[in-house]
Symmetry: C2
Subunit: 621 residues, 2 copies
């Protein structure tokens, strides 16, 4: 049996009923009622408690109760009166536990004995009503900021209705750990809050209030933290408390689903070492072994199909197949398959209706499609079924958070012969492509963390650090997810600037998924040279002057780069990257040809500003 999963209402957007409904809908068993959500709501605590019970939600805790302990009189007495009022509220809500976080007031006395006496008094009053008090160290508490300090006070107070509350953010943000927790009696561990966060060098209060993330989205060792507390005997709910400005502004159900997905993944991450009674009976199906992209599919209409076919033809793509029953065409160049779908009444047609020509699906090669699908379903990504004709293949699929279909294709299988009339290939004039190197998606602001969690959880992709790319009109933030063996690379871009220039360019695709596709070429210069009609993006001469200065490239190599509008990058280990971009197709998406040499593992980020400025110039024209 996994521990009950709970979420604090402060994580979610909207009014209190919206939050509760979303939490229940996705499958949480409990909630923390965040005080401000109650105060601003125009229903009584009794009504809120009833609403929770009707939704099948346990009110796990009421929180926070601030700035209570170790205050001088008359504040001390007033705080105890305040506690009594909150006990009334708890009883009306139907919860028996309140969270007291360590005092942040400058006036707090540096006397653990006073703090213990106050908490003991509060716990005694709580116990008279059958209630309990949990004490938590805030990372920025005035006298108490580490869990061991909080535990010393709880031990000193020595009251059965007083226990310890732990929060992964407060400990891990301070670089603290749970060593020594095994000496705390399990019955004194009253509650557990979990939060992840990116590693940021900023004051811990702002970091905590604005940038927390769900476990798996950030960089804190949350799984290890959970494992330690389970080993120490904790058996209560596992609850998320995430303060994040973007989450608070996002649709509530999407965030609630991300939240639960993060806990399901965490359950699995700790199962090997956690006590068996705390984890689900069945492990998650293992993440798929990936071997690249079998195809990428575009939603088009008849006209766009012709135009995109012509555009790709300049890079050597040829018509290689026609679907037996649908208006679906296969283009192929070397190891790259692109599908153009103009079938009416399909998911593709819907996509085209909304966004114009756009990528509507990607097919991943996986070692076991059924297992991959089962894992996705366990992680709250339901299966999706496209209409198929008689005798046609039924390829399992799920939807990415933006609605893009992700097909799960058996590695090594031939998916084409059954459904397509395949056409004999003419020898191409352009050297063959090796495959798809990476697919870049443009996300609307506020979507990055959800995408990261989705790909990390469902496919076991590993997120790389965030890059910031300056463009002529703002900043693009980029984070790449890649499979361990690098057969799948998915950079995700978010533009902070919505209204102008490249920001608009990026955000035009936001929600429409893919923004550009990079093809792997064994020799990028040779490919571009053999494709004289390919509409390559012009790169200014100044760029090559600087390249010469930076890398001391031989003149002939520099000239070859310049004539092909090729960009160049080099890593610290001497690996290098040669790449060129096409113009955008109908201002919607574009293609890149890339060549990796000597183990280069990046994406040419130093050249992004050059690319974006060139694109902005073209848009202006």
């Amino acid at each position: 049996m996994p521990l009950p999963k709970s979420i604090a209402t402060v994580c979610l957007s909207g009014a209190l009923p919206d939050k509760l409904e979303a939490a229940a809908l996705v499958g949480f068993q409990g909630v923390e009622i965040f005080e401000n959500d109650l105060l601003t709501y125009d229903g009584s605590p009794e009504e809120v408690g009833r609403m929770c019970r009707d939704l099948g939600l346990d009110v796990a805790i009421y929180q926070p109760f601030r700035d209570f302990e170790a205050m001088p009189e008359p504040q001390r007495r007033r705080n105890l009166d305040r506690a009594e009022r909150k006990f009334d509220t708890m009883q009306a809500l139907g919860t028996d536990l309140i969270l007291v976080c360590s005092n942040t007031q400058p006036a707090t006395l540096p006397e653990p004995e006073r703090a213990a006496a106050d908490l003991r008094e509060m716990a005694e009053r709580a116990a008279q009503r059958g209630l309990r008090v949990g004490y938590e160290a805030l990372a920025w508490g005035k006298q108490v900021s580490l869990w061991r300090q909080a535990w010393d006070i709880v031990r000193l107070a020595d009251h059965p209705a007083l226990g310890l509350i732990l929060d992964s953010f407060h400990s891990l943000s301070r670089g603290d750990d749970l060593a020594g927790l095994d000496r705390v009696p399990a019955e004194k561990l009253f509650f557990l809050q979990l939060a992840d966060a990116p590693k940021l060098s900023m004051d811990v209060l702002s970091w905590s209030r604005h940038f927390r993330l769900f476990p798996g989205q950030g960089e804190l060792p949350v799984a290890g933290f959970l494992r330690d507390i389970l080993r120490a005997g904790y058996r209560g709910p596992v609850s998320l408390e995430i303060f994040n400005d973007e989450f608070r502004a996002a649709p509530v159900r999407r965030i609630a689903r991300d939240a639960l997905r993060s806990l399901i993944l965490l359950d699995d991450a700790v199962r090997a070492e956690a006590p068996p009674e705390t984890v689900p009976a069945q492990p998650l199906p293992a993440a798929p072994m990936l071997s690249g992209l079998e195809f990428v599919e575009f939603a088009v209409d008849e006209a766009a199909r012709e135009q995109l076919g012509g555009f790709l033809g300049t890079l050597g793509f040829r018509r290689a197949g026609q679907h037996r029953s649908k208006a679906v065409e296969l283009l192929r160049q070397g190891g790259v398959n692109l599908v153009l779908n103009s079938e009416p009444d399909s998911a593709a047609a819907e996509r085209f209706e909304m966004f114009g020509p756009a990528v509507c699906a990607m097919a991943l090669r996986v070692d076991d499609p059924a297992r991959a699908l089962a894992r996705a379903q366990s992680l709250l990504s339901p299966a999706w079924q496209e209409r198929v004709g008689e005798g046609e293949q039924r390829i399992p699929a799920i939807r990415a958070p933006d609605g893009t279909l992700i097909y799960l294709v058996q590695s090594g299988s031939d998916i084409w012969a059954d459904d397509f009339h395949l056409l004999p290939g003419a020898a191409p004039a352009v050297p063959p492509l090796a495959g798809i190197d990476h697919v870049v998606q443009a996300l609307a602001p506020g979507h990055l963390d959800g995408f990261v969690l989705f790909y990390r959880a469902v496919f076991g992709l590993e997120p790389e650090p965030v890059f910031e790319l300056p463009d002529p009109f703002g900043i693009v933030r980029s984070r790449t997810l890649a499979s361990p063996e690098r057969s799948l690379r998915l950079p995700l871009n978010v533009s902070e600037s919505r209204q102008t220039g490249t920001g608009r360019f990026v955000s035009a695709y936001a929600g429409a998924g893919v923004h550009h596709i990079a093809f792997a070429a064994p020799d990028a210069a040779a490919l571009v040279a053999a494709a004289p009609d390919a509409p390559m993006l012009e790169i200014p001469e100044n760029y090559y002057d600087d390249l010469a200065a930076r890398f001391g490239l031989p003149d002939e190599e520099l000239a070859a780069l310049q004539v092909g509008h090729l960009l160049y990058d080099r890593d610290a280990q001497g690996g290098s990257f040669v790449h060129a971009y096409t113009h955008a197709f109908q201002d919607r998406f574009f293609f890149e040809v890339v060549e990796r040499r000597g183990g280069y593992d990046q994406y040419g980020a130093p050249n992004a500003a050059v690319r974006m400025a060139a694109q902005a110039r073209r848009q202006k024209k």
Copy 2:
């Protein structure tokens, strides 16, 4: 003679020509060409140099040259080759100065002698072409991060073509100052960059790259820094180098004007103590002495005038005058004048056309309107003239950054009798208002810093720290500007969440200026009680339960608050604040009644979430 004013192209949005044109248009004399702006531009350095000269701009410097000094071979030799290439670029651009910033590479040797030797070699090569090299300490340089370290190396190198470059951000962000700069010979001070910033606890690189501000917008002592360097004998350009994500995403001319405004204000701030030859011959006209708002004017049509008149009537406002020649009406309640303007073909009509009913003007009482106008004009805010009828008053006016008119009215004068038929006032049923306590404006994201600089510069208002107000769907950031004697208080709100709920509510006004007006009432409870028809915003009962717990208010006081839908706050000194809100008028703006007791100087921020949740509930209905 003030020092020449320059700006780095990186401060501004767009392609290089857009940046240069904007800088020239607002009146800068020089520019720093930021390398990346040149590299991504598709014109040659010669063309860029010509463009600058045609615009009357001096190319003050080419920058930055990174990671140069104290590297082991073969990087050392390569860096010198790189420098030669950049000298070519400088000569093509037509500038004689390059900025070398201190090396950030882990491989940099910790040997000042090596750094000095390398810089000496570079300077010698530069000198052969008539060029110069300036060395600057980056705050995050590997071996050199303080200006004194950079100066030690420059002194050691001892070459006439090598000098020191100072940047206020790099020094002040480290808490450093310019003590000892008087021992640096003036001819060794090659260039000066100025930047302000908010005080943020985060790593200095991110802080510098994203959050710099123009002087006067932030919290660093930039004026003192400038004063010290002028006293040390610096006589070169004063140049702005501001990395700010919002500025990079904003219209380029607006930001260029803000930039120059900041330097004009800075010139004036240092004049008293700086050498006379470095400051303008004429001081800026002094900031006006303010004594509150004479009126606020709304753009309406006939229908909205009737409705708004009725809405305000419930708070005791009565029709007090009719304009002699225009469709303009005066409403009055105690010390508050509100003007409803439905005149066709006026600035108000334009405003109404764009935003519906909206505040279109505010009239400030100033000690000397002519001087206030002259100051505004000196600070790049031109005078604005509304059409007036014969014999009517001509009130000087300027426009706020969002186009709102700001009239400058002589304190103590009667502006009404000439232009209005005044109507006899009936004794009002509602106790009289004392005046306008504050006017809150909702800004579009990215506009806050520009507004702060405008009000600070033109009217001498003082910015208070930024508040963050959580609302049900995101975060509202709020910063208040107030006159020293508090007769004018202007909170500015920016919503980070654009698309949902209160975010939409706030951003609906963005650009339309005023979002709510708070009236000062000697007794807020009495006023609300005497205005039973006023459409006051309902506050949930839970709020009062919490108030009781937090402040221990007597039951009768609590009951009085609750019956009047009044909110309550108390400051650390025991001052308190009682306030209530009306519903929004046509979902556009609303009014507040506020009572300050015992020197309370805030705006009830802890209650903002309660207000916003209540508004969101109403919008949903």
